[in-house]
Symmetry: C2
Amino acid sequence: MQSIENSKILILASQSPRRKYLLSQAGIQFKVIPSQVDESTVPMTSPESYVKILAERKAQDVARQYPENYVIGADTIVLLDGTILGKPRSRNEARQMLTRLSGETHQVLTGFALCCTARSYRYSDAVKTDVRFKKLAPEEIEWYIHTPEPFDKAGAYAIQGLGTFLVKSINGSYTNVVGLPVCEVIELLLKEGIIGLNGPSRTFDETG
Amino acid sequence: MQSIENSKILILASQSPRRKYLLSQAGIQFKVIPSQVDESTVPMTSPESYVKILAERKAQDVARQYPENYVIGADTIVLLDGTILGKPRSRNEARQMLTRLSGETHQVLTGFALCCTARSYRYSDAVKTDVRFKKLAPEEIEWYIHTPEPFDKAGAYAIQGLGTFLVKSINGSYTNVVGLPVCEVIELLLKEGIIGLNGPSRTFDETG
């Protein structure tokens, strides 16, 4: 898939290597320009509106600087029994989070937004996925928190990395758990005519 | 995670780059030695026993040549309404398969086996995942079958490639759909003491 016009070249307003990977592997062409949004200023009403507002703020922050371009913003949170699990600030916090997640089903919620300043275009939505962890032995938790992986991840794990062994099953969108619901995002980009299915070149040579 | 003894270095009896990627990203150390099993000679009783027998034959084919090593074999099939969808042999077959999968839920079944000749060890199991496709427009199918991706894949799609946009949601193990149920495989390797959670070095530096 490809951008129909150069002015429509997509921007991903996220420095997450996981989001970049997801869009790239799906054959989408885009540039990465991280947003500078202060997440602490977003009001917490419901989890759904929180991730949608934050995704929109991230997208708009970059969209203002690149008014002609369409910009994707996203935010992912982990919910256990209605409580948000953030990024662990210590090994101890990571241990506590993983102990709580062990053997349980939690939710991963990703808000995504698409904005274009010149066209006064704003769209946002949120997708939820259930994730069931295996019952973890204490040694498995200890092993995992002695890797660097849990410390920049909401809920103290990565489903696509070393943490693959933690996840027994999911119900919903997998890419949503990684950080961006690709099926929904591509559906939106096609609907808005931002990417197309025809054209002189395709990107599959790089990713197929 | 790492092999406890050198003699226990794992072998993956598959040339699938997807299975290699799944085990690598989970931090497992192994060698790849593809099997030479003729898949057409495996009897089709039930889908579960078919993938288990085929996974075992693949593992044993390599285990015989490396009697001291533990060998993993695997086979993945796609089932729609109880019928197996193989690898499409033409663009037309790929179009037909994707048209049938569009908007429906199908099953991906992966059999995996672990064998060690010197220890007379044999284990096999099968894991099933439900996969729900989005409703595909004819242009989306045309676009996809004009990429190389569908043609070496059971069911004519790859959940982790360009085909990410096809999949609305799954219920079960994601890695099972890619080609190997990593959570179950690692659980087995830990239980059998083939990999360990302690040791002088870890592999997370490469993959984290």
